[in-house]
Amino acid sequence: MDIRRSSTIPRWVIVVAVVGAVFVLFPLVAMTTRVDWPNFLVLITSPSSVAALLLSLRTSLAATAACVVLGVPLALMLARTEFRGQRLVRALVLLPLVLPPVIGGIALLAAFGRRGLLGQTFDFFGVTIAFSTTAVVIAQTFVALPFLVLSLESSLRLAGTRYEAVAATLGARPTTVLRRITLPLIFPALLSGAVLSFARALGEFGATLTFAGSLQGVTRTLPLEIYLQRETDPDAAVALSLVLVLVAVLVVGLTLRTSTVPSLVRRGTS
């Protein structure tokens, strides 16, 4: 392998780095050896598989939209304001990142479940969340939101407030500054944050299982379908796992592409 290396990086770092990369990639490659290739198409096009894949894509897109709607203001508040307990709020918002998803599911039940704190209120308005696709989207949004907030907040801090200050002195109202300056400046980060959220939503399993249930076409997303197929049809489980890996690779590839687009946040001076 031809690696151009800055002379300040020791050779052993590269050796360990290669070990690390192989560590991540090898199991995924190994999985492809377990795929029942002759029946691959049949396995992944069974009605239950297709239903699970479509449901996963649908709910993940909805969750991503919810993440953007909720996450952009959240990131702005964390990056652009100062208030008492801000560090605590940030830590709490990022909590789903480190919590086992099952705990997320239990927490969501306590909040939005039929007997949860808000469940009665929703029931009153004729909205039932339990066992609905909405519950899946809620679970996915819950676990995916920190990715977007994290990505946006650091990008907002990096971009600084100077362009925004200039825009304000030019007579732009705060909403105009947000729309015409702040958002365009952090757009690459918004995009990659959204893609990451989508990927996280796509892989969501524990919280969905605990909070939403598992019913074909309604709440059984691809990870749940894989988990279930493992019981009786390991071949189908492996095939579907590969599909999920491919979608993830596609998504990550997309993020990398957007991040290599010439950075918009480059200084105006040259």
Partner: protein, 350 residues
Amino acid sequence: MSLAIQARVAERGFDVSLEVAEGETLAILGPNGAGKSTLLDIVAGLLRPDAGRGEWAGTPLFDIGGRHSLWLPPHRRGISLLAQEPLLFPHLSALDNVAFGPRSAGHSKDAARATARTWLAEVEAADLESSRPGTLSGGQAQRVAVARALAASPKLLLLDEPLSALDVTVASTLRRMLRRVLATRTAIVVTHEVLDALTFADRVVVMNGGAIIEQGPTREVLERPRHPFTAELAGLNLLTGTGSAAGLVTSGGLTIVGESVGAGVKAAAAVRPSAIAVHAVPPDADNVVRVTVSDLEPRGDSIRVRTESSAAGGSLHADVSPGRAAALDLAPGAELYFAFAASEVSIYPR
């Protein structure tokens, strides 16, 4: 007075009271950390002082610490800020950068662009209209930034060291352009260049340590500085003391011969470094000061000799040619005599 500001920021030790007349260009001079940018930020509405009042032509900009707190956000002040860096919005073309102000004021896209073209032409940057900021040179970008600030038709223009990031030749062209556009405007220019103050300003304010230490008409302040820092900026030697019949007596007991401002009056004497002759032995002159060399500093085709003098009560400096410096065998610690004629000294009350 059109702009009147009085503000305090405890954390930065900032306490300033300032007025600017309509149509006047005020220069603010001062070293780094003097509080110049803090002042601009308060006027622009980007920084909230702990206490103070500000108004423009009788309309309040802010009033903090009183009974009714008032704070006009920056976008409602009509005050544009031009910073050291152009800070052109990187995602917009030069034209749309300039059109940003008019757009924000509610003009249509076409109308705003038409206004923007006028201003780009005004700063001789019409050919740059479709360029992206990333492709512009420093001077071009600052030109566009000037157009952008002016296109917002501000009542007051704030310039924060607008030329300091540019190289000398680019800065001088831009300085001429700024002189033209600032001639009829109300503006505050923060700078550490005396040349900028002389070029743009009707009046200067000198700040140090968060406070105004001196102010007045530009020429007067720069020719007759009252504060050592101002003298340093203006490139003058400043000797302070008390007026006498001969001229001035310093606290160290040294008499400076020059025109008299009356005995007993607190007074200052200013001498240009180039007017001082440097000798190894005491020469015959109106004024002779014994000094000890503290530092030598190359300045283009001359050498600045920085010295300390206990009799003068502070530091003095003179400019000599490299040949003369060699002949005198100058080195820190050397004892010398500074000599200058009475006619080269300007003595004035302090």
